[in-house]
Symmetry: C2
Subunit: 417 residues, 2 copies
Amino acid sequence: MNAGRTIEPTHRYRNNDKSVGIGNAFWDLSEENGLAGIVAELDDGVLRTGEGHTFVNFSCCSYLDLDSHPRVIEGAVEALRRYGVLDHCIPRSRVQIPALLELEHSLGELFSADVVSAISASAASAGLLPLIASGHVGDGERPLMIFDKNCHVSMAQTKPVCADETEVVTCRHHDLDFIEARCKEYSRVWYVCDGSDSLGGYAPVAELAALQDRYGLQVYYDDSHSLSAFGPRGVGYVRSVAPAANDRTVVVATLNKAFGTSGAAVLLDGHPKRTLRVIERFAGAMSYSQPLNTAAVGAGLASAEIHRSEELPALQKRLQEKIALFDAHVETAQSGSTFPIRLVPMDDEVVVEAGKRVFEAGFYVSPVFFPIVARGTAGLRVMMRAGQTDEQIRDLCSVLVEVGARPAPATRTEPGA
Amino acid sequence: MNAGRTIEPTHRYRNNDKSVGIGNAFWDLSEENGLAGIVAELDDGVLRTGEGHTFVNFSCCSYLDLDSHPRVIEGAVEALRRYGVLDHCIPRSRVQIPALLELEHSLGELFSADVVSAISASAASAGLLPLIASGHVGDGERPLMIFDKNCHVSMAQTKPVCADETEVVTCRHHDLDFIEARCKEYSRVWYVCDGSDSLGGYAPVAELAALQDRYGLQVYYDDSHSLSAFGPRGVGYVRSVAPAANDRTVVVATLNKAFGTSGAAVLLDGHPKRTLRVIERFAGAMSYSQPLNTAAVGAGLASAEIHRSEELPALQKRLQEKIALFDAHVETAQSGSTFPIRLVPMDDEVVVEAGKRVFEAGFYVSPVFFPIVARGTAGLRVMMRAGQTDEQIRDLCSVLVEVGARPAPATRTEPGA
């Protein structure tokens, strides 16, 4: 062992000392209090730990409960039997069995877009954003890339990679003025943000669409939290507000949340075939790594069929009723929104204890607190699903109020009441 | 539209203009000649295009044909039915069903290591390498990271990310002198390379182990091409040559090649539990994105059982016989190696036409040629599998010799002859 050189990190786009240092303290405290590191068997919508504690998961993103829909599971089984392999291992740019094409065709018809599949939204963003940076998904001109400060880590982590191909900046959350100013300065600007984010907000899609029309701004959205749960045929928030029909908008969305299966879909419009080929050949792991397996393809085909049926709007309606039922009992900043996530504010001093009491009462909600959020903004994150029963929701709300949540005003009544 | 600022890329660690520019010409020419963009149904080991052309795939990495093993497929089906979901969507650091743990426990016992699963080897490397860069997989000290010039793109693509956390350099292929010199200069050095690479070579694992013993060098290997195909219980080349028992070696390997399923395994030793927790919580997509689905878990459990049985060495033996049969007819630089990939040299002027003639004769091999390899080093890449018949191999070899491959010397006879 030598004394050796000391290395000073640049920390221009990331800082593990900070993120691991801060995050690990959060996770350790969560785990010490039994609110992380939980292992439980899922049975008929209820989770049971090895110690026999049963609880309802109010922190699961399967907003329509399609993940356990019998037709989705049988679709996976049927595809495994039909194709006889999980994957025929060779890059699809050389030889492919028709599995992915079948799913992409189905999703393309469902969402009225050119659809490219990926094994995850993270793999899609890691593959696409560098090609956007270098102008290869586009007309060859390098854009300024503006990353929203709050965009999901799956996109933010590509900043140092994109920054080796073009100029990268980070803007404040949804800072439309900043974006517009850059549009006046650069002939090509891409803005990268969540279409719907995990703490419950939608992007200002209409306002961004106005900038797209005026300046040719291009926007890359991750709309994972609203696909299936929102919009006609479950097309998601972004494309419900501003249906894309040109190459100025790219939407990436996981199929692992409300859609109920595995993988991700990239929704594109107006790109020539040569650009789609460039994506297939050069979009990082989308080109060289394993694709989603045939079980996921079969499940996806089955879920797409449910999306085409009357069952989807019925499930979306049921989800909205569950959300309204929650809002009728507990007040949050999100009350009244169609978005299925609520953050129930709690004092920093009590949030962990509150999470524990809620868990003991039979409900898992995710406590978020300093150091992963600023002091004074702690809370319990609650995710609603269509399959939760009214009784479960009322019981959860009672416990939440007991541990310090603010009751809803009397003017807000239960749906149908 | 504005005149706008012009952006000059830094191109320090990557250059899409070059890689897409060069690569696209290669792919376009391959596709124009019918050697890329092929869609075909797989039926009993033979592929059939929509136009009715049938061919045997000699460019598939499922070296033991476990991908279509009936017990692997039934394992996937059984897990789907047992768990009733493809994934219960919530970060595993919060709540998880036991699926991943079950697979990791089984693979850990099989390979005598601590095993962490990932959705792909690419996701594993993108998650782990930045934590290695910042010293969080380790004792906190930032290492010099040496990436092998030829290491797979799934590792090479993390260079700009790692470079924001520590010092990153690229060395010539397997440059042991360079690595040793850096070990004398820096107190912590990680070397990142393929354990077995897609053009048919093994890393100098024994020589690297000597540097590990002498200087504390740490090595990150992607051993995807040899897992299952090589070594006792299919532990792969790296751990067969230098069984790891401490934190100086990390092996990442896909489960999507010879293992026959989906996902990837990270094989670790000697890391304290808190480091494994840091990986679970902060290793990029391994922490926040979807895990491998239950179909992959069930298939993996079934494949692991096959690895524990007498069937695995029998399959490995059969693979070696197929390789020896090929070598008895066609001479390559790899002749005599246990590795299942052969590069049959061809002149630049004839390689595409040769690939076409081989394909027309009923065999898919991958042509590689300028501009993706240097002029004068073109060839047809052939991948052997245990499930190919002797007749298929002899017929392929006849066609290869017809199109210009060098026949094996008469001294090299068929196995058993």
